[in-house]
Symmetry: C2
Subunit: 285 residues, 2 copies
């Protein structure tokens, strides 16, 4: 049983708290939270036993989890690692890995740090969005495992297992490239689809009553938190820019075939797209 | 109780058959189906009592439903209307309305025709995809109601109510414009997102194991049938071209802000997009 500090008591950190308590991994859970409103809500919901200032919390912890937006992780990763007690470990749950790994690659306490990304979430945010079982059966990517000590990895793996995560290993650049396509790009396509439709339909709100479940599914991610996603997009801007460029190019191809009423080419593109079906098998919600 | 002919025994027509039988609206249901494989499956599933040639089926029907891709509706609407017995009615379930309404606006039997679009479906197709209750609680758009006779409208409304549809009225141009944004564009964004990701990840299929439920939700529509959607896109190409143009322009704006690391503008765009949340309330699957 471990003393855990969770920095950031939103959807991600709050869900971690729920499962580490439920599974008995944590003997006690301390929160660090800059929003006094979120702190109060987290205490009220019983996500954490107490909310303490950063230094005080870290000093008494076995495990510290960073569950804040990736720009805030970039700011806090080095100082928190410096504060870490000798036998404690630090895990970040950020959705980018390149910049973060680079920042602490030569840090004196690098081996006490585990760079993780559990691929789980919902379009909701804040402590009230925290869910039991959010991580169950989901994939977790750990980067630069070889730079973490065996002891730190052992504790981290125990924590990941308590959450029900299945862990794979990858280098940070591969992580950021793949995530640009399979996660970040779909968020942008959804945000921008929402804007496009709201723009044209703003005079006629009733029109949304006509939207089917397909529209709801495609724009679901447009409800996601800008404060969380802007820093992810910025930290992954190189790969994401490539992904966006390819997406826009293919959209223009589609538009051109449509303009030319070229059914064959439209159908060919859609048949290519259909190949996602077997890939998604078992992945629908 | 009526004798119904359903032309096209796929997802749409097959689901109509299930509910018109269940609710007792139909005394018997005849299918017209050009694919002998679909015809055999529909008979085996009990969707229809018999499959007959077009003329023979229409001649003995009270209600004929056209549930085929919109290019096939465009080909068959006039000839089927011409074949219609004096007291029978014809309803089409096509996802476009402009061209179809125009085709028969001056037809001698125009008043026996009701131009409908029930906004319901799934990404699956064929008779095995037919679902009981597919239309329950969904919106149905009827265009140019004033050109249908009161008698025809009365029968059609009874049929729509048997399916559980809520009917609204709209002119065909307004229908096609709105659908371009709230349905057709989201299909294209999803098809093209699927292609983009499959292209870059084709060497590494395992990577899809990393995709979360957000990706699955955003690309769900990419599984849709090209044979159904290519003709919809083509018939609605003018409005859809505008919608695509606006979508691509906003994507480029987003890309530019990303390139400039302009967090404020990225956040502003996402906050605009977030306004879809109240709109979608009660629309999630």
């Amino acid at each position: 049983m471990k003393v855990i500090t969770i920095i950031g008591l939103g959807l991600i950190g709050g869900s971690v708290a729920r499962d580490l308590r439920r599974t008995g991994f944590a003997s006690s859970i301390i929160g660090v939270e800059q929003s006094s409103q979120h702190a109060a809500t987290a205490l009220q919901l019983g996500l954490v036993e107490e909310v303490l200032p950063l230094q005080e919390a870290v000093a008494q912890s076995d495990v510290v989890v960073l569950a804040i937006p990736v720009n805030a992780i970039a700011t806090m990763l080095q100082p928190v690692l410096s504060l870490l007690p000798e036998k404690a470990i630090l895990i970040d749950f950020g959705s980018t890995k390149g910049l973060l790994c680079e920042q602490v690659r030569n840090h004196a306490k690098r081996q006490q740090y585990v760079a993780a990304h559990p691929i789980a979430g919902t379009e909701n945010s804040g402590p009230t969005a925290a869910l039991e079982g959010l991580y169950a059966g989901k994939t977790n990517i750990v980067c630069e495992r070889e730079l973490s000590s065996d002891a730190a990895m052992a504790v981290a793996m125990e924590l990941f297992e308590a959450l029900g995560l299945q862990t794979v290993f990858m280098d940070p650049e591969a992580h950021d490239k793949h995530l640009a396509y399979i996660s970040h790009l779909s968020h942008i396509s959804s945000f921008v689809l929402s804007m496009t439709v709201l723009n044209v339909e703003k005079e006629e709100k009733d029109i949304f009553a006509l939207a089917g479940s397909g529209f709801a599914s495609t724009v679901r991610l447009a409800k996601s938190s800008p404060a969380m996603w802007a820093p992810i997009f910025e930290q992954n801007s190189t790969y994401l820019n490539n992904a966006l460029e390819e997406y826009i190019t293919l959209l223009k191809d589609f538009q051109q075939h449509l303009h030319n009423r070229n059914s064959d080419k439209l159908c060919k593109m859609m048949e290519e797209a259909n190949k996602i079906r077997p890939v998604l098998e078992g992945k629908s919600q």
